[in-house]
Symmetry: C2
Subunit: 271 residues, 2 copies
């Protein structure tokens, strides 16, 4: 998917909501456990109930890998279902991959070509030749971890390198890589005040922002400091939406929570 198509979809739906499909069999409604593929049944219901409120879905691959082959089959079914039924939706494999060149190429092929995701999250630690293989795919997007929303972000990401935080060094350096136009960045919502500085370095790039909701970030602040003329934000919520209810009404409850966020987004976009 092109960035232009994503922006059009955001404007049409008045939403820049991304829903994280982090499916845990211990948390989904009990009645789904009788299904042949409970994870896919859960995802399908959530997607069908929320697709008009969200512009992106983000399965975190860890949750699928944790169930082995069965989990991978659920992931394949989920992305195939999205691509067949809602091709206008932007899809993110939250995989946080990154390896030496020829290996990153294998990962890129797996997520972009075989599974058919529009984007994948990638870790920056191994540098340019671990990320560029992802960037070479046309109309596919590489979402580089810059500033994450967890406490551990303060261990290395905020440490000073060349007089500035490491995550800003990651932003600056990655801009020089081949096909850098295909880069987006993960920037945690827990540190909204950092966004002004970030926007000086990458004024136009899309940011995937986790940490609104369960992790405590504030939507208004993120938009105040991070929004661009093309919106430039995808706000992710996972547990706050998909586990809104653990009863038979789970999909409806999820849609209710998604609607709350979408309404706030509509209000912000209308200003």
């Amino acid at each position: 998917m092109t960035t232009e198509s994503l922006v059009l979809e955001i404007k049409k739906k008045q939403s820049f909501l991304c829903i994280g499909l982090d499916v845990d069999l211990d948390k989904i409604p009990k009645h789904l456990l009788q299904e042949e593929d409970p994870i896919f049944a859960f995802n399908k219901a959530i997607i069908d109930a929320t697709h008009h409120l969200a512009v992106a879905y983000k399965p975190n691959t860890a949750f699928y890998e944790a169930y082995g082959i069965k989990g991978w089959m659920s992931l394949e079914k989920t992305i195939a279902y999205l691509n067949s039924n809602y091709p206008e939706i932007f899809t993110i494999a939250d995989a946080k991959r990154g390896d030496i060149g020829n290996t990153s190429k294998m990962y890129a092929k797996a997520f972009f070509e075989d599974l058919g995701f529009d984007s994948v999250t990638v870790a920056p630690y191994m540098g340019k030749d671990s990320v560029e293989p992802f960037l070479s795919f046309k109309d596919k997007h590489t979402i580089l971890l810059a500033l994450t929303s967890n406490q551990g972000a303060f261990d290395f990401q905020t440490k000073k390198v060349n007089g500035d935080a490491l995550y800003n060094e990651v932003l600056r350096t990655s801009k020089t890589w081949e096909n850098a136009k295909n880069l987006m960045y993960v920037i945690g919502a827990t540190k909204a005040e950092y966004l002004s500085k970030i926007r000086e370095i990458i004024p136009d790039s899309f940011l995937l922002v986790p940490g609104v909701g369960a992790q405590g970030g504030n939507l208004k602040d993120v938009c105040k400091y991070g929004m661009t003329k093309n919106v430039g934000l995808l706000i992710n919520s996972s547990r706050g939406i998909i586990y809104a209810s653990s009863e038979k009404d789970f999909a409806k409850a999820a849609a209710g929570k998604a609607k709350e966020l979408q309404s706030q987004m509509q209000q912000i976009l209308s200003k």
Copy 2:
């Protein structure tokens, strides 16, 4: 597996060789493509021919994921084969994972419990709470990326933080984490001269050293600067061993290359 068992095995075999199982269907002997599971058939033959020369095997998960469900089945069969037939072998899932706490726990469960690997490689960028979930498993090992063997290592890993390289900051910080005794580190062989400084920070930890062979590192230098009284090194070679021949004699040729390295190791250990 305990570190003590690994050290005993190294002394018994006079080898600290790790063989990387990075299987690419374009590179394996053509006759194997008729097998029901060519990747597993290849791995099984390589393992059977080299298990007496190596103390560890390291499948890079990217190569398996690239083939989707089939690839994951080949990975499952490979680790199950190793655990059943050669339980004395140390197994490494080269997955370079790392995510926020509850997600890292899912990855740890997948690799340690479900698949049954002894260790997994993990990226440090997200800090303490992304790594500690891996460290809490008894007799399982977390191999943290510190200094990798690719060119991109110079983008961030060698940048100065608090007056020292970021990878040394990673070593120092990670030592303070809970269950840090379960940490090992990836240190690329292409920079053997850095090892003296590294050994000042982590005098006893095991290092997984890629980059001998295809990536140009030098075995003698690595041992000179990096070896401890318990050896403390696992030297990985992937392509140089497993693709020694693309004919029917591939397993024998791989054993020949493994024997060359093991002989050099034996010589070094005898000094």
